[in-house]
Amino acid sequence: MTGETILMRNFERSDSHTLRAYVETGGYQAWAKAQAMEPAAIVEEVKAANLRGLGGAGFPTGTKWSFIPKNHAGPVYLVINADEGEPGTFKDRYLLERDPHALVEGMLIAARAIRSATAYVYIRGEYVEPWRRFSAAVAEAYAAQHLGRGFDIVVHRGAGAYICGEETGLISSLEGKKGWPKLKPPFPAIKGAFGAPTIVNNVETICHVPHIITRGAAWFAALGTKTQGGTRMYSVSGRVARPGVYEAPVGITLRQLIYERAGGVTGNGRLKAVVPGGSSAAILTADEIDVTMDVDGLKNAGTMAGSAGVIVMDETVSIPEALMVVARFYAHESCGQCTPCRESTGWIYKMTCRIVEGRGRKDDLDTILDVAKRGAGTTICAFYDGAVGPYISYIEKFRGEFEALIPHA
């Protein structure tokens, strides 16, 4: 399965980030078309396209937009989540650097759909070059008068915190606070940034919107599966011959992605395990890769599509060591607001360290599984559920490898 590239169609051009290149390849024509459409018609088109959020949660985008209260009198905000941080994911970095005008145009259309006059683009602080590229594109769009006529974009830099990729944590951060997630309801569409109705969408999600408007919902929906339309950008890294970002229809299988796109497994050449959707997704074993990479395909396989960050491990990789690295991440990034997350992530990291160092205790594995299962679903945001995915799946699927490291296990 190769298929047409949509989001990455201009990536090979060295000037792909410029307004000139974007317009030459049909850019801003979707916006011209959308300006003649009623906002509700845009929402319906995106709903019918089966576009689903590509930041991690996979929520249907048009449905999310429709949650903005009708006839709301005050301001409505569009917020773009460019706080890419899910380990194993790098697609939004490519979009911001190589096709920033696609995001600007998608935002113009999305803003019309939800009747927003102001948008904030929250870019992770470490992304200096993507921030410069996107800011330059915004300046070009102002000069060309695409922006500034009833719609403004403010580019906002984060300051280093994975939790700000969680939409309510992002909103707290945008409001000048530490990035603590907020209890839902109220959902951001009702009460979001600065207390106003707010839609938070991922970069890649919004970059799809101009194509849906130009080519129609039916075309987009037909690219994908029954429940998810289109293509998406898969970030593939780890032990593969050609690590990189690959755009494919969402119905591609994990096997095709690894062997046909990324050139197959390196290391000793034999696959051991794959993380299919960023580090928060449950791990899959070598015999679980004949699964489609859409949101529901991976959900049915007991894991998640998440941010589509695929991390490949060959047989020489130590799964306990990999879990220790992942557990260190969750311990470091827990925001500390909810007790089960703050305490468990720290202690589980310590336990994985002692297991890897050969000092594990007989009950450690069962303790980790027990703590992980009890804590899941008890916290304000999905961060801890994301940590629990690897804790449980790495241990349950590779238990023998952990036990071999524990004296008297």
Binding site: G160, S235, G238, V325, H332
Partner: protein, 181 residues
């Protein structure tokens, strides 16, 4: 954060807590910078939305975010110093002590780990004579070991100041270090 609204802008910190900090007299923005602060504040329906960008400005101007700088910035926003302290300490990109002239942040997350990040970090420790979190004695380099910088296709990688340095090998790391004045 309404619980911190209207709090006095002075703190009760003891003089000892100020030891080793920059001269407070220097922690003041120029008129042009104050104009920029007001412009940034006007971009948000609540001016406090500009706190993170203004803290970046402060770090760029003063080198790092001291307790005096936190108090100064708090005053610009009518926020308590405690609120600003809470924000500064929450994020990783604000420095609460003077960093080296260059900051080298090596990714230690999973894809980089699989591609040899532990060896790269060990090499940097040996070449610089510091552990992650420390600055070389000559003030040239601060070494950090950080979570995923989202360039996993080019692992192992690190960030040197504003730049991403990709597909690292020990000879490449040596060349990069030689280029840092």
């Amino acid at each position: 954060m309404s619980e911190t609204d209207g709090a006095p802008s002075t703190s009760n910190r003891t003089p000892a807590a100020h030891a080793g900090l920059s001269d407070p007299a220097t922690a003041v923005f120029s008129e042009a910078q104050l104009t920029e602060v007001r412009r940034l504040q006007s971009l948000y329906p609540d001016p406090r939305g500009a706190l993170l960008p203004v803290l970046y400005m402060a770090q760029e101007s003063f080198g790092w975010i001291s307790l005096e700088v936190e108090e100064y910035v708090a005053g610009l926003f009518s926020l308590s110093p405690a609120h600003v302290h809470e924000v500064v300490t929450f994020y990783t990109l604000y420095f609460r002590e003077r960093p080296g002239r260059h900051v080298v942040s090596v990714c230690h997350n999973l894809s980089c780990h699989l591609a040899g990040a532990p060896g790269i970090i060990a090499h940097l420790k040996q070449r610089l004579g510091v552990d992650p979190g420390e600055t070389t004695e000559d003030g040239r380099v601060t070494l950090l070991s950080v979570e995923c910088l989202c360039a996993c296709e080019a692992a192992p990688m690190m960030q040197v100041d504003d730049r991403y340095e990709l597909n690292l090998t020990t000879p490449k790391v040596d060349r990069i270090l030689e280029g840092l004045a």
